[in-house]
Amino acid sequence: MDKIVKDNRAPVSQKPLTMPKPDKDAIGATVGIEINGNPYKVLIGTTILEACRQNNIHVPSLCYHEDLCLAGVCRVCVVEVEGMGTLQAACTFPIINKIKVRTTSEKVRKARRHVLDLMLSEHYGECYSCHRNGNCELQKLAKEYGVDSYKFGHVEKRRYQIDRSSYSVVRDMDKCILCKRCVRTCIDLQEVGVLEAKNRGNNTKITTFMDKPLADVICINCGQCINRCPTAALKANDPSDEIWNVIDDPSKHVVIQTAPSPRAAIGEEFGLPPGTSMTYQMNTALKMIGFDKVFDTDFTADLTIMEEGTELLMRLKKKLVDGDKNVMLPQLTSCSPGWIKYIEHFYPDYLDYLSTCKSPQQMFGSVIKTFYAKEHEIDPSNIVTVAVMPCSAKKFECNRPEMDSSGFKDVDYGLTTRELAQMIREAGLYLPDLPPGNFDDPFGDASGAGLIFGATGGVMEAALRTAYELVTGRPVPFENLDIIPCRGFDGVKQASVKLEKVKPEWSFLEGVDLNFMIAHGTANAKKVMESLVRGELSNIHFIEVMACPGGCLGGGGQPIPTSPEIRKKRAEAIYQEDAGLPVRKSHENPHITYIYEKFLTDGPCGHLSHKLLHTQYVKRGKFIG
C-alpha cells in the first residue's frame, strides 16, 4: 500500500499501486482487512459494502439492490481506501488484498453530502403529495445526512409530463435520480428491455424506445421496476379514488376478491416483519372499509386447477391416444398476466402452447357477474368487482377488451397490495390490531391448493394434487401432500411424477412419467422458451411460468422493498397457512363441487366454462411501430 512508485510526475490519484498480496490466492480464501481500525476476515471477492453489512457497519447505498447486478453509479456508498487517491464506491469494490477502509472520515462524509445535494438538485421533491412519502430511500438519506438546504438548487417546477399511458405503470421522470435500478431490472432481471438511459451527461434520461409512451412499447407490466425504484419515479396506476367512489355509492354492490400473496405481505406495510400472515385481519379491514362482500380468489384458483388440469389431461389424451397434431404439449400455464404479455410479444408463434384458461382473477369476475348475480338476484350492472392482487399486470389484464364474457367488464378494478394498505390507512385502521374476520359465502372457504398459487411452483403443486388423484384415485405420493420438488427459488425446476395403477378410463397414462417444469421471472421463462423453440422439451408435459421472481409473492404490487430474503419469508407464510387448512386439494373444495353441480353443469372444459372461464390470446410481436 505504501509502495507507490516514487519517480513519476503523475498526480497521486493516477499513480500505479502495488498492493500486498492476500494470504492464499484462491477462491474461498479469506483475507484480513481493516475497517475503521478494526480487523475483519472476509472471503476474497467480497465487496466492501457486503463486508461492512456482514459486520454490522452501516454504509448507505442507493443504486445497489440485492436482486440486481452491480452498477456503482450513485456514489452514495463511497468510502476511503488507504492508498487510493480517490474515494471508492463500496458496492463495486471487490476485496482481493489486505486493504484498510474508512467509512466515517471527514472526506467521506462531505463527499456523500455533496452527492446527495447533487441528486436533490435534479429531483422534483414534493414529499407531502408523493406516494412514497415515508418509504423513499432518497428522503431517508436526506434525513440521515441532515440535508437542511439545497446547496445546488432544487427543482421547483415540473420539467416532464407524467406518462400515464399504461394501465399498469406510471412514469414520473421528474423524480428520477438516474440510479438505473429500473434499467437493470428490465434488462438483466426480467430480460424484457423496455427502459434504458438516453443521451448522456446532464441530459441523461431514463426512457423507452424512441421516447414512446409506455403503452406503445413492449412493456409486460410486471411492475418489478416499481418495486426497485428508490423514489416515486415509477408507481402503479392507482384506482383507489374510483374505488372509494363506488364504495360510497349505495346503489353499487361492491365485491372484493383477495389473492393469496397480498395477505402474506400486507403486514410489511404496517411495520410487521415479512412473512406475517394477515388473512383474517384483512377481511375485517375490508368489511370496515365498506366492501359489501369479501371473497377469496383461492376459490377461482381451485377452479383454475379444475379447468387447467382437465385441459392438460384432455391434451394428453388427444396427443397420446388420438395422435392429434394440432394439440400442443407441453402445456404452459396462463395465470400470470405479465407472462401472457411476454409470450405475446416475444414468442407470438407459440401461443397455442398456452392453456386457454383465464387467470383466477378473471374467472372470479365472470363467475361473480353471472352465477353470483343470478343466485343473489343482483343486477350485474350494479356489481363492481375489485381484485386485490400482488401484481400491476392484473390492472392491464382486467382492461383487456376480450375480458367481458359475463356481458360486462368482468373485473372493474385491480388493486395492488400497496394501494390496499393505503386505503386501510386512509380508513383510519391499523391492520395488526383488528380482530380476525371470515370470508363471505359462497366463495369463502378455499383449499390450500388455491392458496399456494402465490409462490412459484404453487400452481404446479396444486395441479398435481388434483390431477394425480383424478387419474389414479390416490393422493400424490408425497408426505403431507407437500410436493417438495415444486418448492424453492431455483430459476428453473424440473421434476416428474410416475403415474401407476391408474383408473381404467385413464389407462393410456399407465406407467407414464408426468414431467413438469417450473420457471419464475421472465428471464428464466426465456430460457425455457428458447429450449422449447429448439425442440428440446418434447418429453415435458406441463410448464408453470410466473413473470415475477419468486412468483406472485414477489409481484410488482407487493410492499417495497423486496429481496430474496423477504420473498422467502413470504413463501414460508403461504406454505404454513396451506399446511393448516382442512381442505388442501382443489377438487375437494365443497364450493367447487357446488358450482359444477349448479352452474357449470357440463363439467370442466365444458361449453359454459369455455365461454366464461377460457380466453384467447393476441399475437403482438416485438416490432414497435
Partner: protein, 157 residues
C-alpha cells in the same frame, strides 16, 4: 414503397452483420455504417439491428442517443458543428456563432427547411490552438471569424 425501403434496409443490415458479426460488440461498426450511408439510423433500422444482434431495441436507442455523431432523426446534408469548448469560446466563438445563425437562418439544434444544413454545437476536437474551429461534415475549419465563416458556408450552398 415503405416495404421496399424497409426490405432494402434489412438486407443492408444483414450484409453488415455478415461483415462485422452478430455479437454485441458488432453494434458500433454496424450503426456507424448505417449512419454514414443514410445520415440517420431510423427506428426501423434500430429494431432490425437489435433483432439481428439479439439485444433490446432500447439498448440500440441508448447507444444512438449517447453519441453526438449518431442520429435517430434526419439531419441536413451538411452538418455544421461549431466547437463550444473554452479555448474556442475565448477566441471569439460567440461572434462566429451569431454569424452562422444569421447566414443559415436557423438556430443551433435546427435544420434548414431545404434540408441542406444542420447546425450543432460540439465539444473540443483538439483544435484549441487554432480556435474558433468548426466541422462541416468531415472537414475542419479553423481560425474562424464572422467573415470567413460566411465565405466557407457559401461554398457549400
Amino acid at each position: 414503397m415503405i416495404d421496399i425501403k424497409q426490405n432494402a434496409m434489412t438486407e443492408e443490415i444483414e450484409m453488415l452483420v455478415g461483415k462485422f458479426g452478430s455479437t454485441r460488440d458488432a453494434l458500433m461498426p454496424i450503426i456507424q455504417n448505417i449512419q454514414i450511408n443514410h445520415g440517420m439510423i431510423s427506428d426501423f433500422a434500430q429494431q432490425e439491428v437489435a433483432r439481428m444482434l439479439d439485444v433490446h431495441p432500447v439498448e440500440v436507442y441508448g447507444v444512438v442517443t449517447f453519441y453526438s455523431f449518431l442520429s435517430e432523426t434526419p439531419k441536413g446534408r451538411y452538418i455544421v458543428r461549431l466547437c463550444r469548448t473554452i479555448s474556442c469560446d475565448m477566441a471569439g466563438k460567440e461572434a462566429v456563432a451569431r454569424a452562422v445563425e444569421r447566414e443559415l437562418g436557423i438556430r443551433f439544434g435546427e435544420t434548414t427547411a431545404d434540408n441542406k444544413f444542420s447546425l450543432e454545437y460540439i465539444n473540443c476536437m483538439g483544435m484549441c490552438d487554432q480556435g474558433p474551429s468548426m466541422l462541416v461534415n468531415d472537414l475542419v475549419f479553423t481560425k474562424l471569424t464572422p467573415h470567413t465563416v460566411v465565405d466557407i458556408l457559401s461554398k457549400f450552398k
